[in-house]
Amino acid sequence: MASADSETRPQEAIPQAVKIIIAGGFGAGKTTLVASVSEITPLSTEEVMTEASYGVDDTGGVEQKTTTTVALDFGRITINDDVVLYLFGTPGQDRFWFMWDELAEGALGAVVLADTRRLDTCFHAVDFFERRGVPFVVAVNRFEGSTVYREEEVREALDVSAEVPVVLADARERESCKEVLVELVTHVIRGRNPVMSG
């Protein structure tokens, strides 16, 4: 057991924690991608949101606050002694946008997973990262039975700028997910986005 040992070693190396966001529509394969590359079984936590629900529930004109919780899944990759990378899957439903700002804050970059059967479900994610200046790549998740589109077709449909990489991926395949993340980090290093400096 290492527990007694760790108590006597207060000088244990503490890594820098960094994150990459995995975004996309509901059911696009975000959790699958995180699970494919994470060194741990993806962990899950929740966030509580409070929202004014007037107009949603008929409470006779009385404004009421309700709280709801949203699951947040994340995985981890130990890069080396100095850096640990966390992968956060965004909550898929649009009504959980309130979490995206905190998730995106300080992120190295983002992967937008696109499902070609429902391409419109990732429009919001593309829009969000463009507006925030968070560098991202689009990974087209290949689902069985879905029409195979070429990279240019997806790029045109999503209307992303030419410098944003669009790659084909299989969220179930570790190698494929690894390539997507490598593509993203390469893109970030190449891009020198003003938001990411400093």
């Binding site: 527990s3 760790s6 108590e7 244990e12 190396a13 503490i14 890594p15 820098q16 924690a17 960094v18 994150k19 590359v37 962990l43 899950s44 936590t45 929740e46 966030e47 509580v48 409070t50 606050k65 309700t66 709280t67 709801t68 919780t69 949203v70 699951a71 947040l72 994340f74 990759i77 130990t78 890069i79 080396n80 100095d82 850096v83 990378l85 966390y86 909550p91 439903q93 905190e102 998730l103 804050e105 300080g106 190295l108 570790r174 690894k178 993340l181 490598v182 980090v185 390469t186 970030v188 290093i189 990411m196 400096s197 400093g198």
Partner: protein, 151 residues
């Protein structure tokens, strides 16, 4: 879908006055064990009705984000039986842990854990810790690139 399962629960929690939660804590605990995933959310009991804890729930006021690292500055004490969440956090933070990992381990919403952690940092139970080596953004990116390629 898990989010559906917890939806009504959170709504129920907000509909009741906070006094109810503080008084009914032992019952709520037994429900935890009984229902597993369907445990009852006790946002006010968890922060001990502490208004300060609510004030620090947001990242902007606590200075903590999901990836802030903390480590236990003391061992769980006898008084922790009243605040089992704090005891559990101390138990999990023997080594430096991120706020979001602690939240997953003690199975509480990350916003609440951030509030509790902030209060525990303030009272000296936990210490914030920065990375041993401070790396620039470009160094981090290159390290991540090399690390990912060698996975």
């Amino acid at each position: 879908m898990r989010t559906d399962g917890v939806h009504g629960r959170g709504a129920a929690a907000s509909a009741l006055p906070e006094e109810v939660f503080r008084r009914s804590e032992p019952d709520a605990r037994s429900h935890d064990e009984e229902f597993g995933q369907e445990r009852f959310l006790r946002p006010f009991a968890v922060t001990a009705g502490d208004p300060d804890a609510h004030a620090v729930l947001g990242p902007e006021s606590s200075g903590l984000d999901m990836l802030s690292l903390v480590v236990a500055a003391r061992v769980p004490g006898r008084h922790e039986w009243l605040r089992p969440e704090r005891g559990a956090i101390l138990g999990h933070a023997l080594r430096a842990r991120t706020v979001v990992e602690l939240a997953a381990e003690v199975r509480l919403p990350v916003g609440q854990v951030r509030g509790i952690v902030a209060a525990m940092v303030a009272d000296g139970s936990l210490q914030r810790c920065g990375p041993s080596r401070s790396l620039g953004r470009q160094d981090i990116l290159h390290a991540v690139l090399v690390g990912l390629r060698s996975l």
